[in-house]
């Protein structure tokens, strides 16, 4: 299976699911993060994502390994998009296949939460009024 990736083309749910499918699986769980039309009440037109790319891909691979160790999942697909995305576009996708639903669902939650917590990816929101701001979740 290919490792987790940063991509500059659309994240496609069917492609992620195809990568984790198996006849031995009874479950495929999927999370998609999408660009919301407002943040803290301010109307947003799009989000620009950038990353410390080599470190981000290494950290994403570590998270997938940790999910394998914690939940016994071996079929994990993870992609995060970079560049400027419009409202409604998919910024991140996680798919996990497993024989049973509980490990698949738990692993999806784990992977997205860890990605948001520690992978060096940044976003700058573009607002309807033409201004732009870096998002700082710690502020």
């Amino acid at each position: 299976m290919t490792g987790p990736h940063l991509v500059r083309c659309p994240v496609v749910a069917d492609a992620l699911l195809a990568r984790v499918g198996s006849d031995g699986h009874g479950a495929a769980a999927l999370f998609l993060g999408t660009v919301r039309d407002r943040n803290l009440g301010r109307p947003v037109t799009g989000i620009e994502y950038s990353a410390y790319e080599p470190m981000a891909e290494r950290e994403m691979a570590r998270i997938v390994e940790e999910a394998r160790d914690a939940f016994g999942v071996t079929a994990v697909a993870l992609e995060h998009r970079l560049g400027t995305l419009a409202v409604g576009e998919v910024s991140v996708g996680v798919a996990v296949g497993h024989a049973h639903r509980a490990p698949a669902l738990d692993a999806v939650r784990f992977v997205i939460e860890e990605l948001k917590r520690r992978v060096p990816i940044w976003k700058r929101e573009h607002y309807v009024d033409g201004t732009r701001e870096w998002v700082d979740p710690t502020r």
Binding site: Y52, V92, I121, W122
Partner: protein, 89 residues
């Protein structure tokens, strides 16, 4: 500060890259420099920038693509990067 013994190009991203207008800044550091020294050096350099937007007060540093503790030593040849608060997803 003791005589500079270590020249390090610190990689910058997001708000820091925008503020500096560059994806890196060169710091002259003492030979016994640590991650904390790097953070202080970049923050001092950022204060010298004119009309830059405010930068996050709390940043971390990655050394060779792994988050490093403040007391970790920085050595010539290390890949050193300022990691502002992350916001993927």
């Amino acid at each position: 500060m003791s005589a500079s013994a270590l020249e390090i190009d610190v990689l910058l991203f997001a708000s820091f890259a925008e503020a500096f207008g560059s994806d890196r800044v060169r710091l002259s550091l003492p030979a016994d420099a640590t991650v904390a020294t790097v953070i202080a050096g970049v923050q001092a350099a950022s204060r010298a920038l004119s009309d830059a937007p405010p930068l996050p007060a709390t940043v971390r540093v990655a050394v060779n693509q792994a988050i490093a503790a403040p007391e970790q030593r920085v050595r010539a040849g290390d890949e050193v990067a300022i990691i502002p608060p992350v916001a993927g997803g």
